[in-house]
Symmetry: C2
Subunit: 248 residues, 2 copies
């Protein structure tokens, strides 16, 4: 493709890897990155040399540990997760339910951490995976506190109905988001899967911006959202405090 | 630098970020990557455009969430961690001690997961962080099961003494590694910090290769390694089983 920068051509090779296609042959890689086979071969070899890609015995490529190592320095990835982990563990210890931590990336959210209870209600999420903002508890918190232009863009697009309870009416969703801002937490009841209810609260930066959202996901039929909200909010505040610079 | 490939020049910008320098100004980035200021500026902008880097309000660059998202597809990173997490959680639940999961990368190890007990003995590790192979419990397992040429290279180099108990004599270390292979687990007693003891066991691929090591790190003065070994080995076997392809 003419006009594309060299950097973007290199990054296009990484873009070829997705959660549904984490391993690719050389020809799949070339096709997905939009480059010739010899170019894909040369660049892939260079990426293997650095450790951004690794090659399995069957010849297929996958993302390498060296890239994961560098990426672990992302403040919104593992660094946030490290600060949050003790509070997420405490939430898990006292509830044995699913605990999730997510950040907004554009018009979607990315799960940064998940502690799944063995006997807890099944959830659809994967660490590093994406999800829409308008359905989950963490999504509703991240959407309610996003810049106005992000909210407008999400509300203007079709809202996917994961279940019959998912809010797909923009007017109704606007009301729900106002309620989240007022109460300081969200409740998503059967809006992702009918059997799950999540309660989420915002994690703020020392400057007061919303950085992330933390949630508990429990069985919908026995859930007591009013009891869970203070627990989730306290954990979110604990993470916010852990992110503040230490004063000696 | 003439002769360097374009890919390696792009990756040199990512290499500039390290655990001790996770945020860099443009001039720091240019100096560390060995490129001119205008080149660094152009490439950094392209990396920001893709999401591999993000720029803070103060103008400094850090690793971006999009890179972390792609990197989460690394089979030896988050994918291994996802398979291992239920077993690590169980280990934590029954002991409330530090639980660690690590893989070998060259002549060192990288921590892929860590669950830190709030009241457990303090440990030096960080998820995504590196450590030498000859001192920790997980390191001794990964070294004992590494290819012969890796073992020889580690044994030929000076072995850093973290404490007076760290094994720095190659002849003695060879004996310890033989013992690890025989028993199927390692014990590192005060070899990283004097107050900590770790017991580790190997996680194997479905083909039988050692992929990772899992450990419990406890207080050295009250530790009972003989009681911990079966627990750690059972967790390691559970992870091995979770990595096997499901047969319908």
């Amino acid at each position: 493709m003419p006009g594309r920068s060299v950097t973007s051509k290199v990054l296009a090779l990484l873009d070829a890897f997705t959660p549904s296609t984490p391993e690719l042959t050389l020809s799949e890689l070339a096709r997905r990155a939009g480059v010739s086979l010899p170019t894909a071969h040369r660049r892939a070899q260079e990426l293997v040399g650095w450790g951004a890609l690794e090659r399995a015995p069957d010849g297929r490529f996958h993302i390498g540990l060296r890239l994961w190592e560098v990426a672990s320095l992302a403040p919104r990835g593992l660094a946030l997760r490290e600060a949050a982990m003790p509070f997420l563990e405490d939430l898990y210890e006292v509830t044995h339910e699913n605990v999730q931590l997510a950040v907004r990336e554009g018009l979607e959210l990315v799960f940064v951490e998940r502690i799944a209870g063995r006997r807890a209600v099944p959830v659809l999420t994967r660490v590093g995976g994406r999800f829409a903002l308008h359905a989950t508890g963490v999504g509703l918190v991240l959407l309610a506190t996003a810049p106005a232009e992000v909210q407008e863009e999400v509300l203007a697009a079709p809202l996917h109905a994961y279940t019959e309870k998912t809010i797909t009416d923009p007017v109704r969703l606007r009301e729900v988001l106002a309620g989240v801002r007022k109460s300081g937490h969200s409740v998503s009841d059967g809006q992702v899967t009918l059997d799950a209810l999540s309660v989420a609260a915002p994690v703020r930066s020392p400057e007061g911006h919303v950085l992330a959202a933390v949630s508990l996901v429990v069985r919908a039929d026995t859930a007591q959202p009013a009891a869970l909200a203070p627990l989730v909010k306290a954990a979110a505040r604990g993470i916010t405090r852990a992110l503040e610079p230490r004063h000696p």
